[in-house]
Symmetry: C2
Subunit: 551 residues, 2 copies
Amino acid sequence: MNGAQALMRTLVEAGVEVCFTNPGTSEMHFVAALDREPRLRAVLTLFEGVATGAADGYARMADKPAATLLHLGCGLGNGLANLHNARKARVPVVNIVGDHATHHARYDAPLQSDIETVARNVSTWIRRSLSPAQIGQDAAEAVATSFGPPGQVATLILPADVSWSEGGVPAAPRPRRATAAVDAARVEAIAQALRNGGGRAALLLGGRALRAETLRAASQIAAHTGARLFSEVFPTRLERGAGLPPIERLAYLAELASVQLSGLEHLILVDAKSPVSFFAYPGKASDLVPAGCQVHTLAGFDEDVVASLSALVAALGAERTPPRVQPAQRAPRPRGKFTADKVCKAVGHLLPEGAIVVDEAQTSGLLLPLYTAGAPRHDLLTLTGGAIGQGLPNAVGAALACPGRKVIALSGDGSAMYTPQALWTMARERLDVVSIVFNNRAYAILNVELQRVGALGAAEKARAQFDLRQPPIDFVQLAHGMGVPAQRATSTEGFVRALEQALATPGPHLIEAVVPPTLTGLKLRVLPHLLESLASLPRPLARGLKRAIAP
Amino acid sequence: MNGAQALMRTLVEAGVEVCFTNPGTSEMHFVAALDREPRLRAVLTLFEGVATGAADGYARMADKPAATLLHLGCGLGNGLANLHNARKARVPVVNIVGDHATHHARYDAPLQSDIETVARNVSTWIRRSLSPAQIGQDAAEAVATSFGPPGQVATLILPADVSWSEGGVPAAPRPRRATAAVDAARVEAIAQALRNGGGRAALLLGGRALRAETLRAASQIAAHTGARLFSEVFPTRLERGAGLPPIERLAYLAELASVQLSGLEHLILVDAKSPVSFFAYPGKASDLVPAGCQVHTLAGFDEDVVASLSALVAALGAERTPPRVQPAQRAPRPRGKFTADKVCKAVGHLLPEGAIVVDEAQTSGLLLPLYTAGAPRHDLLTLTGGAIGQGLPNAVGAALACPGRKVIALSGDGSAMYTPQALWTMARERLDVVSIVFNNRAYAILNVELQRVGALGAAEKARAQFDLRQPPIDFVQLAHGMGVPAQRATSTEGFVRALEQALATPGPHLIEAVVPPTLTGLKLRVLPHLLESLASLPRPLARGLKRAIAP
């Protein structure tokens, strides 16, 4: 058995079922080993950013890692942005990065580069495997480490000679690190804060705390104490829809998040970071915690979220308090002038039970949370690390993790062009993904950000940097070019029909929605972009914003 | 004047005329500054790998740096592979990488990552600018450093607050580092070796030594002493064609390069690395210098190539020896069965005077050097770092550097799919680029490499990793989708006509050549892939190989 075979056996024994690949010469023995291991599915991608984004999406839905197979430092570089999103999502990913043979490194051949430094951007665990005898142990440790908690990106560098040499020894799965025990004193202190001032307290949920079970416990706490519930701005995976407790997402826009958080005296973190603004803006604070508000951590990234929330429920005596749940409420069939909002409404109108919604729609997806709030239960995956090009690859991974569930990937035109190669893998693997591209022919968000950062003097040349009208991108042709059936919608009725057809037909589909930019003409100094919490904002604020956005 | 304005002014004063951009919020003040600086052309790309690959191609042709504008660590990551190619090409590039405001970094916002470690993979010079007062000095140093020698990638990290704050001070251009003086004793020692054993000596030229002037000097030396001339495997920029001294490229394939180098007693490096195999293979040496052969360095990467060669010519008394030159000899119009070779022949048949040929055609471009050897004078740019996805972006940069010259970019189907977004920028900027995509529906090179590394046991699952037939990629639709006129050729005559039309019409064009894989059925244990030196190989070897490849 050579090193590659021992590696593959170890991965599979540890529960890895899928490997997203873009191999080169140094990975050939790993590729050859595929034919001896029927339990590992190798999913070819045409670009490494698709492989890593798919691994991220897979992990979010499967709660376990996929492997990636990448070609030296450059292949890892191409996959870095979506590994960044996975890192910020705190999900497990195991990278296998092929490298030159150990004896070849000193010759500085063309593809030689410093893989470790690239990996360090996204991985805390980096190991260069030194022998076939060791590689099984290394792989077992990589998988166990990736689970965390918190989930993380583990990068195993595989020299070609370690891969091809005989003497490979597979290793049994390593025990995973246990989640830290609940700290009873901390729970009691938080319970005390909630008893005394529940109405001026909020729970901020992130990471693993946005699933049905934890949302129910959090909702019991909220109902019992009067505390508010927030989700972090960009959830890794949020379970939502009819029958589940709704949760208000913090706004991307710091100015609005500050409104959401104002008046709080206690902010209780549950697998979430203390809120900060996405970017810095001249003269504005980065830390969004209101002055005088005390921040508590109920469950840190390495702690047991379910047990912590249960303990808090018990400490408060809220076991019998019923959680608030979202009533079923379909958005009506949209009609009239075709806008991005109508697309969101149509998604809400037609969303199938158990769908997985991947939202990278930027400005165009603003009202998506509103229109899908009462739709059948679904999962929402978002842009955790802010590195665009996540949506279509995430959809590939989610579809592979959850056969039988429809995936709906919403993407801006700018976003979709970072990793369009994902469409090819959707076609190749016949994945049930409906990709919706909002083609507003602009980096619309940057037009607003330009104003928001107070960049004065910007005129024609600057504006041209956000203008994608010349040439217009034809996503129908792009999709057809990669084997994905596609339609263009230029009317509300046409879009609804296209979506109905796509959802009714197995396999991948793309719908290009040609819509005006959502925020054109917006005079507000604040940006409602990505303000996906509109659905549950205080009504007057939500109404005011909606009027401002869609006049 | 804010920091961004001071930075831009400094870049322009130092001779930077083009900036390839893919900006985000943290770069907004740099973008806004564009409208005050008419001397800087901002070329928008839809993906950072296009921006960095364009900067590489620009530098190869302009002999000076373009700037890139990238969005934090993830944007730099997306651009890393083509910066790797630029690093290996030893050309100047100046990256401007926007970052969070200095006071924002500690909050670990979603896009926060360690930019320096990513940059280290490709840059020796990395600077985080700390104030608007300092940024001009930093930028001037970045540009001066990028020139080297050797040319290099300089990365300037630009925090958003340094960009937006007033107090910017532009800086005058810094003096560049001088090339090291010619070492007379070394020149004399090499002259002595050539006098004694010119017939068993060779000059290996790379980097800046593959231009007309240096090729002529090297050819004089070869003619005078009997020494052979080799170019490195992947030239940064090779001037070739009718009227210029021809040069034999070392083969990509180590086995064949060893044949080329066998019997040598002296190998004289001129801005080139001592030859090593591209990858390591089981049981094969990485160092390709024959046993007993002495390696001399006439000009290192930081030395004066022109002066060194002139000094050697003088030391040998070869000033009056005429260089050998390639006679003009057009490839005939190809006819008959359509193959990748016919595409190469058609390019040779029609190549316009002064064309720039970007070759990332992998296996399909095998005979390109043969068929273009006697074509009108042209420049050849190749895959210096082995990180595919270089060809189309390089063509963007070359076209911007050389308006009025036709650029012909040859790409494999696999290669073209790494950075297809380059087509959009070609259309947007109306660049005179004819992209030829060899669509053999395979990672053909990997089928051969699989055999070459001796990866046994590979069967259906492994082969599927190199098979791009399902779904077939339609490059005509992809090109149309990004605004580039395109045709598909499935016959030799059809291809010749399509190329004639494309060359006769200004602006970008794409021709998809649907061809069989070049190496199908090849039983050789050695791979002639990328053996672009066929043109000047000993005739029996060349003929034998040609028969083996195209039976």
